[in-house]
Symmetry: C2
Subunit: 205 residues, 2 copies
DNA sequence: GTCTATATCGTGATAGAC
DNA sequence: GTCTATCACGATATAGAC
């Protein structure tokens, strides 16, 4: 079709992405978005039929293009140790570029309604279980203890994501500026894999 | 003063606590709260001057009485291993009783405005650093490696809190019912301390 | 203390001129 | 495609009767 991309449409999308993530779906108003995109409410509803629709269109891609590819690293074909370091590193770098995304996603998941639920399911959230198989193989070799992949994944996700989820509290409570926060999460790139591997390589208690 | 506690006032507080946590400050309406408390909007504004004020009054106590005491376990006078197991266990049990609280607190912290910020600061969020001192003593004895208390605290908090923060996604993605979720977080009571202690006891990389 | 009725405002969405 | 003007609604909050 090669339809020329309207500049206005893109500006609205960008403004929406920014404001939705910053303030949540409920607190970001159409007026905010229009003003931030240097236009007016009527045009927002001209390009997208409604606020809900705008939300949907913007986050289908945005979410599927940032979070999911990184999360899938755990199912890549890589040696266990390499994989864990790569996962933590890529996830951390992604979050440094988009630090408010995780809190946004989680808070939009409250309540059944939530457009986010549909988006997550449609984005192919159901992964393969090749990570569990890898853990089983390593355990059979005696390289690591027996471990539940879901528990390990959850721990990894927790430790990487949580500092960003609680960024505001963390900064406030420990007087961190942006630079100090970056140093903090950067040093976790080493700590988190070490902690995970120390657990896996330990004899079962 | 011994002023008789109005039953209505308590019902409103309870309703507010429930709905604020469930849907967030912005999405819980005064009408919701009034209806849920079996009364009307006028009475809500009679007892509390405004919605914001109601929020403030309800969460000053609620938050300070549930989360903070548990968080302070890390500064208790206990052997390191005992302390870590106790912290994870108590925190998990607290969260099982109030599973939506963490996501609520974090999402209310977005934006500078946020009454939550004041509440957190006033609640005595500034703890002592006795946990760091304990880690230093243990490291000096050679029992553990040198470690930053803030990093260890963050990892512990992460691993306990995150499953509750992402409860909806977790349940949806892995078809967990309430019982399965409880089993999941219960088994983390063992995994999380093991992981933390395995890291601390490991020779430095 | 409790309720009904209402004032006032901000929101999402649309009609219609250009 | 773009804008102004406006509608319909739901929100918080209050006035005033009982």
């Amino acid at each position: 079709m090669a339809k020329a991309q309207s500049n206005t449409e893109e500006k609205i999308k960008d403004a929406a992405r920014k404001l939705f993530v910053e303030k949540g779906f409920g607190n970001a108003t159409t007026r905010d978005i229009a003003e931030c995109a240097d236009t007016n409410i009527a045009l927002v509803n001209y390009y997208f039929r409604s606020k809900e629709n705008l939300f949907q269109e913007v986050f289908q891609e945005s979410f599927a293009h940032t979070f999911l590819p990184v999360a899938r690293i755990l199912n890549d074909d890589l040696p266990l140790e390499v994989k864990i370091y790569k996962f933590v590193d890529h996830m951390t770098e992604m979050l440094k570029r988009d630090p408010m995304m995780p809190l946004f996603v989680l808070s939009e998941m409250r309540g059944e309604h939530s457009q986010m639920c549909r988006i997550m399911l449609e984005s192919g959230a159901l992964e393969s279980n090749s990570f569990q198989e890898q853990l089983n193989r390593e355990a059979a070799k005696g390289a690591i203890r027996a471990a539940d992949a879901l528990q390990v994944e959850t721990s990894l996700m927790s430790m990487v994501l949580f500092p960003f989820l609680s960024m505001n509290i963390l900064k406030m409570k420990h007087q961190m500026d942006d630079e100090a926060f970056t140093r903090f999460v950067d040093s976790r790139k080493k700590i988190i894999p070490e902690m995970t591997l120390a657990y896996l390589r330990q004899r079962e208690g």
